[in-house]
């Protein structure tokens, strides 16, 4: 069951809470009529970083649950006038927002706000820390195809250092008993990366990580990583950590290929694989709406009568 006012991260959740959200989300998969579970509730999508997929997904999820959903982005907010994050949130709360969906560049911003907020905070990605709904939708996608994930091998490849997706997945997959292999250029692996989750193993090369895997999850490599000293060129990155057909052949037959998007086609993944039969990238997007419905409903229900 679920009794938390916020969803700040995967960290701290237990198996029964995760199980509840995933089961509930599974029931929302596929075309769904609108419900009135959150009728009269106000959800504010506060996205301090740009995002199309996640914001749209939360917006659709909120609307499907009958809530009123408002989007606020920094260009239209008073943040550009120097208002603090806390003041921005207090102003939004003064307008009787029930749930704040927060995307913010500062790691820990949702934890900070939760100490002060009267509304429910849902973390839609904080800095390089967590992205809990992404991990939930990834796992929902995996469970639909693979069933129980206990003992499954999930390879997560790329810029682990800056990836909130990797962090949340390492925690969530560990909670569900899946084995997580992390790999990427050494300059993109954080110190003591093996401590990111209870079942994490660090792999030196992409082929080591992919070998025998049930799932291969490729992370987006940001172009800005090639401007400093951390990585030489996209060409070399593709050569060493890009997923191509031959490399995918090392995974289990019919292994799932995942990517949180947006994809750099031809860099971390070839188009043939992204669009191929093993790719579940668009299933992930579809699962996103279901997961966000489950999360919004769960935290919304902890708030008493509208």
């Amino acid at each position: 069951m679920w009794s938390r006012p916020h969803l700040l991260g995967i960290e701290g959740l237990d198996a029964s809470e995760v199980g509840y959200l995933l089961d509930r989300a599974a029931s929302f998969l596929g075309p769904m009529p609108k419900t009135d579970a959150l009728h009269g509730r106000v959800i504010v999508n506060l996205f301090f970083e740009s995002s199309t997929r996640t914001r749209t997904s939360f917006e659709i999820a909120g609307k499907k649950l009958g809530a009123d959903v408002i989007n606020v982005s920094p260009s239209t907010s008073s943040v550009s006038k120097g208002e603090t994050l806390l003041d921005t949130i207090r102003n939004v709360e003064a307008m009787h927002a029930d749930i704040l969906v927060l995307r913010h560049a500062s790691s820990g911003a949702p934890q900070f706000l939760a100490k002060h907020a009267r509304s429910s905070i849902v973390n839609a990605g904080d800095g390089t820390h967590e992205h809990p709904t992404q991990a939930l939708l990834d796992v929902l996608t995996m469970r639909k195809r693979l069933g129980d994930l206990k003992g499954c091998i999930v390879a997560i490849c790329g810029d682990i250092l800056h990836s909130r997706v990797a962090r949340s997945n390492a925690l969530l997959l560990g909670l569900l008993g899946a084995n997580v292999r992390l790999t990427g250029p050494r300059t993109m692996l954080p110190r003591e990366a093996a401590r990111l989750g209870p079942t994490v193993t660090i792999m030196p090369t992409l082929s080591d990580a992919v070998e025998g895997a049930d799932v291969v999850m490729m992370l987006r490599i940001q172009n800005e990583r090639f401007s400093g000293a951390a990585l030489p060129t996209t060409r070399e990155y593709t050569k060493t950590f890009g997923l191509n057909t031959a490399m995918l052949g090392r995974a289990k037959p019919n292994a799932l290929v995942m990517h949180p998007g947006p994809i750099n086609r031809g860099v971390e993944i070839t188009s043939a694989i992204a669009d191929g039969g093993q790719s579940v990238i668009l299933d992930q997007v579809a699962a996103g709406v279901a997961v966000r419905m489950a999360v919004l409903e769960a935290v919304g229900r902890t708030r008493g009568a509208a």
């Binding site: 960290e11 603090t84 994050l85 806390l86 913010h104 500062s106 790691s107 820990g108 911003a109 934890q111 900070f112 904080d126 800095g127 390089t128 820390h129 967590e130 909130r164 962090r167 954080p190 110190r191 003591e192 990366a193 401590r195 990111l196």
Partner: protein, 438 residues
């Protein structure tokens, strides 16, 4: 008007003087005139004589802090000379050194003179400015060090910024040595710490915060020690935080290089795990490290590899800490809580009481060339009366510093400064003089 102070049957402790005994101590006209059993028996009762019943209490040499941020000029909302000196007096400090990263930066005689004058007017704890090494702390051109010294500066530092250029550092060491001023380095290779929020380790990995690796300190310390050796100049390492720094210092000292170092109470007590939960009170520069660093620092303080304890008192306003972690200002206050926190480590056996006293009195005095506070006849009376048994809880409301930013709020501590005496004047007295077990 008080002419004399009398401490009756107090345990007077001054390791350098080989003193640790229950005695009477008499202070007249600013100096200690008598120390000994029943030394006060013939002091006449008078309203011009202040008598402290010292039973169960300790009398210690007054403390010296090499590293405090008084924030004035420029950031008076965080702290000013008056509030910092009040906090210092309450913490048992008779001398504090003020770091130059104010606004404007103390890189000139004018600011140094301003600080000296302001502190004299405030009375109480004495303030000794530390001038910048480079103009504007920009790491390029040397400041007018002769001028700074003449105005009252006792050392030079670009604290908050590291002197990264080896050429500038070499010049600074050579030039400052003409005036016997120590160069106090904030050792941080900024290229390795760009955007850093905390120690680089498993906690930064977990929290997704940019890491400040140990090696960013170690590479600067290693280079600086080589430069200190080459120039035969005095080098002082501010707020040592790593096991590597300790190792390098140990090696350098064993070969006679003129290097000294300080460590803060928080680096002796806390680790990066205290940051978990995005605790901005624990954001500090250099960052809180790991348990083996803490162990190494404690041992180094115990064996003298690290010479002294300095607070790095860094007051901030509430909003500077009540925000996202990466927007929070680094630093924590220390003046008022240093002694009881460090006494806790003595009680835990990390180092001896005599080493603690030395590290807060004689050792820092030697580094910046101040007369060391001591308990012996004819010495200037710079003392603290301390209740080793008093139990109290660190609370924001009771702190005299404008900054309340410390992770030790709510911590129960034992030991309390009851009075601070500078040149025979009582500059601080705890409200509950009767506190403790007597």
């Amino acid at each position: 008007m008080i002419d004399a102070l009398v401490f009756r049957r107090v345990r007077a402790i001054d390791p350098h003087a080989g003193l640790d005994a229950v005695v009477d101590v008499v202070v007249e006209r600013g100096r200690i005139t008598r120390v000994g059993r029943d030394a006060a028996h013939n002091v006449p009762e008078s309203d011009r004589v202040r008598v402290f019943n010292g039973e169960g209490l300790w009398l210690l040499p007054g403390l010296i802090d090499l590293h405090a941020h008084v924030r004035e000029p420029g950031y008076e909302s965080k702290e000013d000379v008056t509030s910092a000196l009040r906090a210092a007096a309450a913490g048992g400090f008779v001398d504090i050194c003020a770091m130059p990263n104010t606004q404007p930066i103390n890189d000139s005689k004018t600011i140094t003179e301003f600080l000296v004058a302001k502190a004299r007017a405030a009375g109480g704890t004495r303030l000794h400015p530390i001038g910048a090494i480079t103009v504007g702390q920009e790491g390029e051109r040397l400041t007018e060090m002769a001028d700074l010294r003449d105005a009252g500066a006792v050392g030079l530092s670009d604290d908050g910024r590291c002197v990264t250029s080896s050429a500038v550092m070499r010049s600074a060491l050579e030039y400052a040595s003409m005036f016997d001023l120590p160069i106090i380095q904030h050792a941080e290779d900024h290229a390795l710490t760009e955007g850093a929020q905390m120690h680089e380790g498993w906690v930064s990995t977990k929290l997704g915060l940019r890491g400040w690796p140990r090696v960013a300190e170690d590479v600067i310390v290693a280079r600086d020690l080589m430069l200190a050796e080459y120039t035969n100049a005095r080098y002082h390492l501010a707020h040592a935080s790593t096991e590597g720094s300790v190792r390098l210092l140990h090696e350098a000292k064993s070969r006679g290089i003129r290097a000294t170092a300080e460590v803060t109470p928080h680096h002796l007590l806390l680790t990066h795990e205290n940051v978990l939960g995005y605790e901005t009170a624990c954001k500090v520069n250099p960052p809180l490290r790991e348990a083996h660093d803490v162990d190494a620092l404690r041992k180094a303080l115990a064996d003298g590899t690290i010479d002294c304890i300095a607070t790095d008192h860094a007051p901030h306003g509430l909003l500077d800490k009540d925000c996202e972690f990466d927007r929070a200002s680094p630093g924590m206050i220390g003046l008022e809580i240093c002694l009881p926190l460090m006494m806790g480590l003595v009680n835990d056996g990390a180092f001896s009481l005599s080493r603690l006293i030395d590290s807060l009195t004689r050792a820092p005095a030697r580094i910046v060339g101040l007369p060391p506070p001591e308990i012996r006849e004819t010495a200037e009376a710079n003392l603290i009366l301390y209740d080793p048994q008093a139990e109290w809880t660190i609370e924001a409301a009771a702190l005299r510093s404008k900054g309340k930013n410390t992770p030790f709020l709510g911590r129960a501590v034992r030991g309390r400064v009851l009075a601070t005496i500078v040149t025979g004047r009582v500059i601080f007295e705890a409200e509950e003089q009767h506190a403790g077990s007597r």
